[in-house]
């Protein structure tokens, strides 16, 4: 049974690249393009891991992360936050809100895959 | 020295006592005719209370300490 990964980002080209990358590694993927969409897909799709962008319309990645952690159904899902803002405070905030890891854009595809695998192991 | 605030205030208290001693209505209490033990009460009252006041004033200013 393949692992499920939910990709959340509002940037189409990044979504395409992540989707392609995950599929190549044999994961099942779903895509959400904003915060509300992300919460909906997280409930429907029941992913094992979520790649979560921070800067998004409607709900920021932080808000999504917090909502996921407070909902018992999704509280245990792994969350890797992706952000183009590399400031220390943002990293600390993400981790404090319950993210499992924090990756700064642009990222190395190889490292990202390794990180995902380690969290799903 | 009466430059000490406490002494000055004690003296001022004696001032108030004196105003009370030497004026109506206390005065009218002793303002009676006749003599008691051979002395007129008003005269005795004024002289005794006056002297008592002077003694207390002396006690206040001459006391050592403070």
């Amino acid at each position: 049974m393949s692992r499920r990964i939910l990709i959340v980002d509002d940037e189409p080209n990044i979504v395409i690249s992540l989707e392609f990358l995950m599929k190549k590694e044999g994961f099942e993927t779903a895509v959400a393009v904003d915060g509300d969409d992300a919460l909906r897909k997280a409930a429907e799709f029941a992913p094992d891991l979520i790649l979560l962008d921070v800067m998004m319309p409607k709900k920021s990645g932080f808000e999504v992360c917090q909502a996921l952690r407070t909902d018992p159904a999704t509280a245990s899902v792994k969350i890797i936050m992706l952000t183009a803002k590399g400031r220390e405070t943002e990293v600390a905030k993400g981790l404090a809100l319950g993210a499992d890891a924090y990756v700064t854009k642009p990222f190395s595809t190889k490292d990202l895959v390794l990180l995902i695998k380690s969290h799903l192991a | 020295m009466i430059r000490s605030r406490l002494k000055a205030q004690r003296l001022a208290f004696l001032f108030l006592m004196g105003c009370f001693f030497f004026n109506y209505p206390l005065l009218s209490v002793f303002n009676q005719g006749g003599v008691i033990y051979g002395l007129p009460p008003l005269y005795v009252w004024l002289m005794v209370s006056w002297l008592a006041l002077i003694v207390q004033m002396a006690w206040v200013v001459e006391r050592k300490g403070d």
């Binding site: 990044i14 395409i16 990222f107 595809t109 | 109506y24 005065l27 006056w50 006041l53 002077i54 002396a58």
Partner: protein, 918 residues
């Protein structure tokens, strides 16, 4: 056998002894070994309060009203209970300012006012004259009675005796001569008289012992003790009433009035002020006087009532004036030596009072009345005369003679109509008028010169009308009608029942009205204006103890060369030199010549002079040196000027401080703005980095995937490469726009400003965008464009704005069904251009936000496919450009009608028709 010459001889021997004591004490003082510098002498000298009023008059008063003589001594006792608050402060202030008299005190307190000092002097002289008359009457009467020994004959009415047979006249002349010898032998800068004080202390002992001797003789010599006298008195109903006092509200009212009247008198009578304040050697002496002086009063009053009762018992049927019982009782029992001793005691009571009172008054008359007048008469040239100390002494001697002369005159006129005590009370009521300005001046900073003048005048006028004039009238020297029927026959103006007030004795009645008017006007008039600079300074010196130390009195300065001769003219050159040398020594300098010309020296000289001629005159004299201004109106102007200078300076300081406050506030605001800008810059950089990282992420991800997997199929590969290329273009555009914006914002952008035809801009822009519109199948049309619309602008920049707006419209216009309309219209002074699409529209809340950097309008529901392309910098840049050319750019939008971006620019009109030229 007591013959006249024996009494006269004894009197002169007594006076001679006194003079010797005074002379010795003065010698000791000059040698620096003061005889009077101890608390006992100070307390005894305060006994000058007890005059012949006490010595003879108290018995008379006791005969008239029983115990009613006593309040006059209870009041001073209460005053000394308040010593810690009133006397201590008064002495300290007087010492610090070299106050020489009660007039000087008042004048100095209210801004060193000469007028005020003069007024106080006049009131004091007029008020105290009856009191001096009382002494003359007592001495001459007692002399007359004693010289008729062994007969007891009351003297004839003084008014009926020919002038040169009146012993009172000779008493007055002898006392004048004696006082002049005592008090005006030389002029002292401190105005202290050590010899006099020593003599007064001795006199206090003499009169106390004399009275006690008479009392003891009467009680145990004539009777069998106090109890015997009281028992006998109680047996005679007519006499027994003296054991009580009338039990009525009026009596108690009078009693209370006398207590407080005497309290003030013991402080404000010129001689009391002189002894208690001016002659005080060391303020610490006061503390023992607090109980010793009341004790003295207690002792001298101990036998008053018994003697009065014994006199009444002995001289039943009258014929003997009760005021003379102290003398006549020993005479009636053939005790001639005791009678002589009592006479000497009475003489000492009288001389003590007259000496101190007239010396104090002569100082006031000289310093506060005569000298200010003389100094203001340029004809006399006093201001330039080299030695005035002789003149000062002459003035004082004449003053003493004149005051005693006035006392004699009053004695001849009014002396017989009143008992001793009643005469004294008239004087008490007069000096009580000083109470509001003196006590108020010590504790209230708001009092002004005008208030003090008005209060004193009001009180004095009412005192004269209700007490002094009636005393003349009763003596027959004035028509008595106005007492009965009021002035001009107006009943309400009856002097002893003013406004119909009845039920009070004349003293209480007078005091009620005069002090009410006095206090009321003093406070009322003072409150009319704020104290001026000088008054405020003096108020601080008098009211506020320690804080006053640092207040400079002078803003100018003068050197020793000016000040020493000035002081020398008044107090003698040698004394002045000594004083200056002492001052130099106190300041740690070696000699007079080292003294700098500073304000401290001027202040010192002023205080030195104040001791000799009073503070008000001293101020004027020092001013003449310090400012080199002639006296008179100029001096007044000078003082005014000084005040206004200080005011101006103060207001400048105030203004500066306000400016400083304002500058601080501005700085704080600027700082806050800077911090805000800093935060914004931080946010901007963070946003920029985010915007740059986003395309980079895609580029890197796809590049890496292509690198990892060379076997990617061709279609996939060209798709990835396409994304990489478009993201690179996006990145490039982003960077160039950021740079562009930075240049615009910092004002470093280059502009080519010329007349631009708007129609051409529109067509150029639409042409360059045509391909993109065709690709997305969106129609683009220029719907209206008036010809000849010209603006002053940079053509390329305007095209840039149009391209931004068109790509923005294209971005939101629906593919296939979208259409975008462009138009330009002109009004009289502006050109209006709009770009309208039929996209989803911009919510009202976002209509300003979209002009912020990196804010892009949220797209349609499917953001993934329809995410607005662009950098989020187009609109902010466009707005910067339009605003640079003084135009406006805004958005009008509604969901139904789509979105319209509109900008306006000022229209170029007139002869310079740009459309034809370009």
């Amino acid at each position: 056998m007591l013959q006249g010459w024996v009494i006269v001889f004894a009197s002169f021997v007594y006076l001679g002894v006194l003079f010797a004591i005074a002379w010795y004490a003065d010698r000791r003082a000059d040698a620096g070994r003061s005889l009077i510098s101890n608390p006992l002498v100070y307390a005894l000298s305060l006994g000058v309060y007890c005059t012949t009023w006490t010595f003879y008059g108290s018995v008379g008063r006791a005969v008239a009203s029983g115990i009613g003589y006593l309040p006059i001594y209870l009041g001073p006792t209460l005053l000394f209970a308040l010593a810690g608050f009133v006397l201590v402060k008064m002495i300290r202030v007087a010492k610090a300012n070299r106050i020489t008299s009660i007039a000087d005190f008042v004048a100095s307190r209210y801004g060193k006012s000469q007028v005020l000092g003069g007024l106080v002097t006049v009131i004091a002289v007029v008020g105290v004259v009856p009191y001096i008359a009382l002494q003359l009457k007592a001495v001459s009467n007692s002399f007359a009675i004693l010289s008729s020994y062994p007969e007891i004959v009351m003297p004839a009415m003084s008014g009926t005796i020919p002038l040169f047979q009146d012993s009172a006249l000779y008493v007055a002349m002898i006392l004048a001569a004696f006082t002049i010898l005592f008090g005006t032998r030389h002029l002292d800068a401190t105005e202290r008289h050590e010899g006099m004080v020593a003599a007064i202390a001795v006199e206090s002992i003499v009169k106390l012992v004399a009275f006690l001797a008479a009392g003891i003789f009467v009680v145990w010599g004539v009777h069998e003790g106090i109890g015997d006298i009281f028992a006998q008195a109680d047996a005679v109903p007519e006499i027994a009433r003296r054991l009580t006092t009338a039990d009525s509200p009026a009596t108690y009212g009078t009693w209370g009035t006398l207590v407080f009247l005497s309290l003030f008198a013991a402080l404000l009578l010129p001689r009391q002020f002189q002894i208690a304040v001016v002659e005080n050697v060391d303020i610490s002496h006061l503390s023992r006087a607090v109980w010793m002086f009341p004790l003295y009063l207690f002792l001298i009053n101990l036998f008053v009532l018994p003697v009065a009762l014994a006199g009444l018992l002995h001289f039943q049927g009258g014929g003997v004036d009760a005021d003379t019982f102290v003398l006549t009782l020993p005479m009636a029992h053939q005790q001639e030596m005791l009678a002589l001793f009592v006479f000497i005691g009475g003489l000492s009571a009288a001389t003590g009072m007259v000496i101190v009172e007239t010396i104090a008054l002569s100082t006031m008359v000289c310093n506060d009345l005569v000298m200010p007048l003389l100094l203001r008469m340029p004809i006399l040239g006093l201001a330039t005369r080299s030695d005035l100390s002789g003149l000062l002494l002459a003035i004082r001697r004449w003053a003493i003679a004149i005051i005693l002369g006035l006392g004699y005159l009053y004695f001849r006129m009014a002396g017989e109509a009143y008992a001793l005590v009643s005469i004294g009370l008239i004087s008490f009521a007069a000096v009580a008028q000083f109470a509001p300005v003196v006590i108020g001046g010590l504790f209230w900073k708001g009092g002004t010169r005008d208030g003090a003048l008005a209060g004193l005048t009001a009180g004095f006028v009412l005192w004269t009308y209700t007490l002094l004039l009636p005393s003349f009238a009763k003596s027959g020297w004035m028509p008595a009608g106005f007492i009965e029927h009021g002035l001009f026959g107006i009943d309400l103006l009856r002097p002893q029942h003013l406004l119909g007030l009845t039920g009070l004795d004349e003293i209480t009645h007078s005091l009620v009205w005069s002090l009410l008017a006095n206090l009321g006007t003093y406070i009322g008039v003072s409150l009319l204006r704020a104290p001026n600079l000088r008054e405020a300074r003096q108020a601080t010196l008098f009211v506020g103890g320690a804080e006053a130390a640092g207040i400079p009195g002078w803003r100018g300065s003068a050197g020793v060369a000016d000040l020493l001769p000035l002081a020398g003219r008044f107090i003698g050159f040698e004394r002045a030199q000594e004083a200056f040398a002492r001052h130099a020594h106190e300041r740690g300098l070696r000699g007079i010549e080292e003294l700098p010309a500073d304000t401290r020296l001027v202040n010192f000289a002023e205080t030195l002079l104040a001791g000799a001629i009073g503070s008000a005159s001293a101020r004027v004299m020092v001013a003449s040196v310090v400012t080199e201004e002639p006296l008179g109106i100029d001096e007044v102007m000078n003082i005014l000027d000084e005040a206004s200078q200080v005011r101006r300076y103060a207001s400048e300081v105030e203004q500066k401080s306000a400016e400083l406050t304002r500058a601080t506030a501005e700085l704080r605001e600027a700082n806050a703005q800077l911090r805000q800008l800093d935060r914004m810059k931080d946010d901007f950089i963070s946003t920029v980095s985010h915007e740059l990282r986003t395309p980079l992420t895609s580029i890197r991800a796809f590049s890496e995937m292509l690198q990892e997997d060379p076997k990617t199929d061709l279609a996939q590969r060209s798709r990835f490469l396409g994304i990489i290329v478009s993201e690179s273009i996006r990145l490039t555009r982003l960077i160039s726009q950021i740079l562009d914006l930075a240049k615009l914002e910092s004002g470093r952008a280059e502009w080519t400003v010329e007349s631009v035809d708007v129609g051409e801009v529109l067509s150029d822009a639409t042409e360059s965008m045509a391909v993109l519109f065709t690709e997305k199948r969106v129609t683009l049309e220029i719907e209206t464009c008036e010809p000849g619309l010209a603006v002053q602008a940079d053509c390329d920049r305007l095209i840039q704005v149009m391209v931004n707006l068109l790509s923005n419209a294209l971005k939101f216009a629906p593919a296939g069904s979208g259409h975008v309309k462009v138009g330009a219209r002109g009004t009289a002074n502006e050109v209006r251009v709009h770009v309208t699409d039929n996209g989803p529209g911009v919510p009202l809340a976002d209509q300003e936000l979209i002009f912020d950097k990196f804010r892009q309008g949220a797209g349609t529901a499917d953001v993934l496919t329809d995410k607005p392309q662009g950098t989020g910098l187009g609109l902010p840049i466009s707005r910067q450009i339009i605003e640079y050319f003084h135009g406006r750019l805004w958005v009008e939008s509604s969901p139904a009608a789509g979105t319209s971006f509109v900008f306006t620019l000022p229209r170029l009109t007139g002869d310079n028709d740009a459309s034809k030229n370009s």
